[in-house]
Symmetry: C2
Subunit: 319 residues, 2 copies
């Protein structure tokens, strides 16, 4: 079989930014572009900006639209994959928007669409940390926590199309509302909220100083800096959150007998391998039966580009 | 396509009893037999008793061995499905015993082997409560809690062959050892242990009277009688356990976006639909997103015969 020399554009569509990149069969990004999403200007305007970002990435890669075989998009929210429709995307303010169809009319290329976390998982399977595995769970930790599942080298979407919502699985069945799920306990939002609450209750932490007392400005990078500096409070809160991710991964692997879990997302990128090590320790403690400790807990290799590369592979190897 | 008029024998091999039945394509049991397992006499002796039970069931069905197309077995413990070997079965005292091969040498019929809970799930999918669904989770509540998964009309065993261990998923990550998992909280063993503990601590319950003070004799039937009689303590403990099963089912469906969960096993048989109703209420409260409330939580239709019928279908429709 000859080398697949087709090029695809992957688009990572977020509430704040649009990123596009021209991606080859190895997952290498040959050219890229980034612009603001500005959802307040309406869906049609956003599609115009997506088309422009795609064209800029193609120019950056020193190619033309004729060199591109297709476009893949990862979008936030609930996606109807079969009909390429964004059902609901709160931070885009979209409901039942036929994104693929509208974009295709503008750029005259095949367009495939799936939700951002499925696309990230697919990227890690096709060209990232899970390349050698056929069955994979992806867990992406950021503002929220999302997941994606690959069974037998195919994205698994489930009967209702919503598969992968590991962030909404319950790890503390007796806890109060807003304290029960993985996302409630381990997202960046949950970590920051808890830290801010503790600092306001006079627990000592360097974070207060790092943001000049503006605790509403705490983001992943500030958190990472505090952890690197061995700030006791930040380390403890992050360790507990990593532990929760490990327990959730153990639950999924106990149920599904998987050989690989990829841990990614903005928080993972910021905190790095020390964070993934903590996830792995909890995973190994709780997974059952003990043979499943052989399941590999790996850190995302594509990092912030998982969405972009994964989207290009969605178009290259429809799944 | 003509009607499939082949007959298969299904064997439900337990630590206490061996049950065998001749099963047709509709799942009807044409003849059956039951005998004690007596694992203390060694594996070869148990195989002899299995062969005898099979022959008795065939006679009961007014057939001969020549009328039988094959045999399926559901066995407790860890099964290597690919090699038809019982890897570990604590209550049979077996390790790495090639059950299918040894039995085939005696009865000269094809023999397929899987673990009891996979076989029960498969039975409910082929001829029971989940017949119209292609993707199903089975949860079987008895002494312990086991689970089985069917994706796309096939049993899913996972990379390490252990898929379905929902009883060992964690619902109380902060609880002490022995109080964290679904099985720790909701198996018959867990329910009885808690009830006995509470009764010994002078909580009022009719159970004490039902077993003449011999609390070590509390079984599913006693429990069912107490619940039917609206014994407050028994009702509360059972309701809490059912709630846990509902949360675990919600976690699995949140992750897998499934259209159907079958609830079965000895405790479910004893407690009936009122118990399944409680499971359903908790499931609907906790599953995410809310569209997944459409997932049907159904009670096992095959009841105590799920293992026997499922084993016959394992041989009929290898999966």
């Amino acid at each position: 079989m000859g080398k697949d020399d087709r090029l695809f554009v992957g688009v990572d569509l977020g509430g704040t930014n649009i990123q596009a990149g021209v991606v080859d069969a190895d997952g290498t990004i040959l050219g890229r572009s980034k612009t603001k999403t500005r959802p307040e200007n309406g869906a049609e305007a956003v599609v115009g900006r997506i088309a422009k970002t795609i064209d800029e990435a193609i120019v950056e890669a020193k190619r033309t639209r004729a060199d591109i075989a297709g476009v893949g998009i990862g979008a936030p929210g609930v996606i109807d994959f079969d009909h390429s429709v964004v059902v609901t995307a709160v931070n885009l303010r979209w409901n039942n928007f036929p994104l693929a169809k509208v974009l295709k009319a503008q750029i005259d290329l095949p367009v495939l669409l799936d939700n951002d976390v499925n696309v990230c998982t697919w990227g890690e399977c096709c060209a990232g940390a899970a390349k050698k595995f056929h069955d994979v769970l992806g867990i992406f930790v950021g503002t929220g926590i999302g997941g994606g599942l690959v069974f037998g080298d195919k994205l698994y979407r489930g009967h209702f199309g919503s598969a992968g919502e590991i962030g909404h699985t319950i790890l503390h069945a007796d806890a109060g509302l807003g304290r029960r799920t993985l996302e409630n306990r381990a997202s960046r939002t949950a970590i920051v909220n808890l830290l801010v609450e503790l600092i306001r209750a006079n627990h000592a932490s360097m974070i207060d100083k790092l943001v000049d007392g503006k605790l509403e400005d705490v983001r992943s990078k500030v958190l990472a800096k505090a952890v690197e500096s061995k700030d006791e409070l930040a380390c403890e809160v992050v360790a507990r959150a990593a532990h929760e991710v490990g327990v959730a991964a153990a639950n999924a692997v106990t149920l599904l007998s998987l050989p690989c879990v990829v841990i990614g997302g903005g928080l993972t990128e910021a905190l790095g391998s020390a964070y993934v090590d903590l996830v792995r320790i909890a995973f190994r403690k709780y997974v059952f039966p003990s043979e499943l400790r052989a399941c590999e807990i790996v850190q995302s290799k594509l990092g912030d580009d998982a969405g972009l590369v994964g989207a290009a592979f969605l178009a290259r190897q429809p799944s």
